[in-house]
Amino acid sequence: MNCKVQIDKLNIHFGQTHAVKDVSMDIAANSVTAIIGPSGCGKSTVLRSINRMHDMTPSARVSGRIILDGSDIYDRSLDPVSIRRRVGMVFQKPNPFPAMSIYDNVIAGYKLNGLLVKKEADQIVESSLQRVALWDEVKDRLHRSAMDLSGGQQQRLCIARTIAVRPEVILMDEPASALDPLSTLKIEELVEELKEKYTIIIVTHNMQQAARVSDVTAFFYLGEMVEMGPTKKMFTTPEKKQTEDYITGRFG
């Protein structure tokens, strides 16, 4: 297996709360890994540690190692900004920049960094929107506010914005939980397609979704990773009793 991200004995504290306990996971390149588990079990916390999003939270303490292509992203010599250019993130609630047009939202990663020339921009906007299957829906109103779009369109725009900067890994934190079933389906199809080029880690509390989109599933409970394995096996013959109870809906 070509291992893209390797999480090694990860522990995360918020003050006195021990939110993530001794988690180790190997994540293969160009695969979709789903993280499932009841709410509050530390799914988001693990995900956000993979692009150093906890740097902004003063009470958060992260220990252990997260190896991206052979180097520890928590190494002191590495700049979190350069990590985040390689590891993109899609959030639970669609969060396009409200003051920007659809067009500017797609290239926000370049614009906000003061990069990019005009010609390149057109090309990046079109190809990114094509990839998330949004181009046909918005090509006539690229310069209108992104806030005019529906929730599902906004979320696809956020994915377009993420892939526009060409990351290697994409983290998704319950990307469809605020969306209607049809939009959810579109996001799921998109995840399927995106794994050709990217390594995807997706948090979901929807087990059917995990079963549909992922290659590997990890089950979390109370901050610990209980079990991780091929999705098919996890949903048919899990090794741990807790996993089975959760998957069969006996708790959570």
């Binding site: 999003m53 350069s82 969060n95 990663g109 906000l112 960094n113 900067v165």
Partner: protein
């Protein structure tokens, strides 16, 4: 029993309504008196010469406060130049970076600074700038006004920045945008209308300040040629003309008062309008 309590409730209700109506009138009355009086007195004497001429000796017609208007504009502009960066960057520091002891100290100092009577600010600037520079100056006046502006701008900006959702900052950071760029281009940008509203209110506040200019800009009967010279200001001229014994100067003071009140009223309205339009 039931009827009685109903009657009691009704009379309570009536009493409370009357009380509130009285309170409303008591609040509006002074405002109405001030406005109508200034309007009456000011309209008699405000004319074109008021805006184009400098003050004339008593008895000479056609005096104005052009130099005071210009002086106020210049000193407010300089105060903004000094006060805005300090206030805005201070607020960014407080909301985006400052979580520790220093932030508490800054916040506390800003609150104290905001509570200091402006005449004391004037005295302090007098000893800090006027004495070492051997003279009253527009610079010292602007500095005193900036000191009054800073806490207002700092605290309103801080409030506005806090209203920007965390999710927007995270969206930017997750795209590999450094924190400082995120602060300037996403957070500050999103809060801009609110900040402009705060700045307009800060301008309205200092435009009428007289006390801090008494020992700093001092005032000037003529045009000032340099920022290191004493400079006229509208509220200072109103003050000087109002305490003079001459009737024609009193008239001019009323004209000045009218212009000042209209200016502040416009600024407050603009601020309110901006604040409204943002939410619709």
């Amino acid at each position: 029993m039931k009827l009685k309590s109903l009657a009691l409730r009704k009379s309570f209700n009536l009493g409370a309504t009357l009380l509130m109506a009285t309170a409303t009138i008591l609040v509006l009355l002074p405002l109405g008196i001030i406005f109508s009086h200034i309007l009456k007195m000011g309209l008699q004497s405000v004319n074109l010469a008021f805006f184009t001429n400098i003050p004339q000796p008593t008895g000479v017609p056609g005096g104005g406060m052009a130099n005071g208007l210009a002086g106020s504009a210049i000193m407010i502009l300089m105060a903004l130049l000094l006060g805005l960066p300090v206030g805005i960057f201070g607020a960014i520091y407080l909301t985006e970076y400052g979580k520790g002891r220093l932030a508490t100290v800054i916040r506390f100092s800003a609150d104290i600074l905001a509570g200091i009577p402006s005449i004391i600010t004037g005295m302090v600037v007098y000893t800090l700038l006027v004495v070492p520079m051997h003279g009253f100056s527009a610079l010292a006046g602007a500095f005193a006004l900036a000191l009054i502006m800073i806490p207002i701008v700092l605290r309103t900006t801080e409030e506005q920045l806090k209203l920007v959702p965390v999710s927007l900052r995270e969206a930017s950071l997750a795209l590999g945008v450094p924190m400082w760029r995120t602060s300037l281009k996403v957070t500050l940008r999103s809060a801009m209308t609110g900040i402009v509203t705060g700045v307009l209110l800060a301008i309205a506040r200092v435009a009428g300040e007289t006390a801090p200019l008494l020992f700093t800009a001092l005032g000037n009967q003529f045009w000032s040629r340099k920022l290191t010279e004493p400079m006229a200001a509208l509220p200072l001229q109103i003050f000087n003309f109002a305490i003079s014994p001459y009737e024609d100067w009193h008239q001019l003071a009323w004209a000045g008062a009218l212009v000042l009140v209209v200016l502040m009223f416009t600024l407050s309205l603009a601020a309110r309008w901006l604040g409204r339009s943002r939410h619709s």
